[in-house]
Amino acid sequence: MRKARTGFLTVALALTLLIGGCNRQDEEPGQITICFAFQDLETEYWVAAHKAITETLRARNIKVLERNAHQDANRQFEQIRDAIAQDVDGIIMIPQDGESALTIIGEANQAGIPIGVFNRPPADKSKPALVVVADNEKIAEEAVAYMAKAASELNRKMTPLILVGDLGDQNSIERRDGFYRAVNAHPELFKKPIEVPTKWDAATTLANLEAALQVTPEVDFIFTSSDFLYPQIKAVLEPLGRWKPKGDPDHVVLGGVDGDSTAYRLMKEGYVDATGVQDLFFEANAIMDALVEAIKSGQRTPEKWIQDPGFALTQENMPQRAMDMWGCRILHEEQSNEAR
């Protein structure tokens, strides 16, 4: 019997704690509530975006309801419908993919709640939404163009390799297109590119890249569709004696897209030649501004397609533009935090 009573007490205590926990934030009258639903935080880019969005919204005295869908489209669907039932004023979503984005936008439209889609665009433009998206093709092309320029100084025919993202993701398709456009502009410089699928997964990348380099060890030009894969590239190149900074005869011309802190560090050390930078802070601010404006002006189904032009950070323009790269800024913030 004593055990039973202790059990009941534990339960009661836990319930009290739970209720206490829920009641932490009280509603202020007239405060805007925004639901921020994301698919998962797989890469540094998403983590940084999550941080930028939640912090900025809270700084503007906007209540944020965060929802992580754990890469499950149906869960995201349910989460956003629940948020709608809770009468949120607006929704910012990083969707699992373009198709489910479209379905969810439909739900928001029906309920008359403005919705913004961050960085991963819906499959088509059939339903109104605020969308901010990087011009992936252009950014990738710029980065690869600089890499080609660096390669042309070596006076040899290059063997290029591209790490392709997930083909279900519009962004990775555009990045691949950008890569090809830049490479095809210099037929005299490049042999036929080798494609290595990554599915946006580190382990897959490692295995596939290792295999590719066994078959064609002469690869000397690598473009990754996302910066978060540099550690895997290093892990494969280093044992082959090919992980060398710029200027070394064994240097592999290296570049990517995203602009995270690893990429910044590697550029400073000379391993990476160029990276296409999505302007994360621009994108975060643009979607929030557009959404808050829509809420305040009473628009229910606002529609706007905001393009982040981005830019390519190269060994050449690094001194001037490094601070425009989010990875670099995060790194500096961290360092100054540590200094304090």
């Binding site: 039973a4 739970l18 709608i84 039932a85 489910s100 379905t103």
Partner: protein, 356 residues
């Protein structure tokens, strides 16, 4: 002892009753309602209900397999593969840029969409192929378990891996859409309290109830789960019963796949990828034993309600996402703890109830 008895009589009655999880869910709901008035809003209640149906379909199927002492890990991959196949039958158009490298391009699908794109038969045939494919995969599981005597965990782990891989291969990771409007309408629950998913799953649940509670077959399911040897000697066709349980589980997974695909408006190769824990979790919280021989339709309903209300209320909390999973885990643990406590209490009472 006497004081205890009178003081604890009411909680004891509740704790020991079969409806304990329902009581717990309702209490939880009421507390959350106190904090978030939106909980009982019309729209939220509609959400709650519409989230209940597809999950319930899966749990019902899982329950049959659990009752015969097995486990079906392949339900979610059955969902994925049937979702993709069904969609490939009825998709109204497909972009060549995304599907041209598909192994079925030109065979089953083309620029005009799926196999029966545009035909009035597209949706009925698609629905039929969902169900037939799901039940067949379940049948395969059942045959491997019953006839080849392979351990259920292994069998369904293998089918899980195989069919989720197949779903991704068949689509090359692309979602198959758009689907016909009449199919999408199956998934919508906005016509007041009665919606197509509700009708479908309530019929499924009634069927499950009649079979389990009223038919000879039902008694056989329990007998096989409680003691397969006794059942066999007593003239129960144990193998047939096991095969049927898995086939029904596959069929239920297909029904779940229909509802989820319709609601997400696409055939998705990753459909339900993370759902398995919710399915088995709901079944177990409802009181369905992992060791076989125990389970009721009503318990499945309670377990699902518990999970749905929990998820819904977590979606209301203004917590950062790091802590939400911790709270979800804590609440499930709490419920499991209470249930263990309940089992202990009922053990206390066993000598009394059991005295001849």
């Amino acid at each position: 002892m006497k004081l205890d008895n009178t003081l604890l009589r009411w909680p004891k009655a509740v704790v020991l009753s079969n409806h304990f999880i329902l009581v717990l869910t309702v209490l939880f709901f009421l507390v959350m309602w106190g904090i978030y008035p939106h909980m009982a809003g019309r729209r939220n209640l509609a959400n709650l209900l519409s989230n209940t149906w597809p999950l319930l379909a899966l749990v019902l199927g899982q329950m049959f397999v659990l009752i015969v002492g097995g486990i079906d890990l392949s339900q979610t991959s059955i969902m994925a593969v049937t979702s993709v196949l069904g969609a490939m039958v009825m998709a109204t158009s497909l972009e060549p840029t995304r599907f041209a490298h598909n192994p079925l391009w030109g065979v089953l699908i083309s620029e005009q969409g799926g196999w029966l794109s545009g035909s009035p038969w597209a949706v009925p045939v698609a629905v039929l192929s969902f169900v037939v494919a799901g039940a067949s995969i379940g049948l395969l599981n059942g045959l491997a378990v019953a006839k080849l005597r392979m351990p259920p965990f292994m069998v369904t782990l293998v089918t899980m891996s195989f069919f989720s891989g197949l779903a991704i291969y068949l689509t090359q990771s692309e979602n198959v859409r758009p689907l016909p409007d009449s199919f999408i309408a199956i998934g919508k629950g906005t016509l007041g309290p009665i919606s197509p998913p509700m009708l479908i799953v309530v019929v499924l649940a009634l069927l499950a109830f009649v079979v389990l509670d009223r038919s000879i077959l039902g008694r056989w399911f329990y007998a096989v789960g409680q003691n397969a040897e006794t059942a066999k000697i007593s003239g129960v066709p144990t193998k047939r019963v096991i095969v049927l349980a898995y086939a029904f589980s596959g069929l239920c997974a297909a029904v779940g796949a229909i509802l989820y695909s319709a609601r997400l408006e696409a055939g998705r190769p990753t459909l339900g990828r993370n759902l398995l824990l919710d399915v088995i979790g709901a079944a177990v919280i409802g009181g369905i034993s992992l060791f076989g021989g125990k389970g009721k339709v009503l318990w499945a309903v309670y377990g699902v309600l518990f999970f749905v209300v929990l998820d819904n209320s977590l979606n209301k909390m203004p917590l950062d996402f790091y802590s939400i999973d911790i709270i979800k885990g804590a609440v499930i643990l709490l419920a499991a703890l209470l249930d263990a406590l309940r089992t202990r209490l009922s053990l206390y009472h066993a000598p009394l109830a059991g005295a001849p």
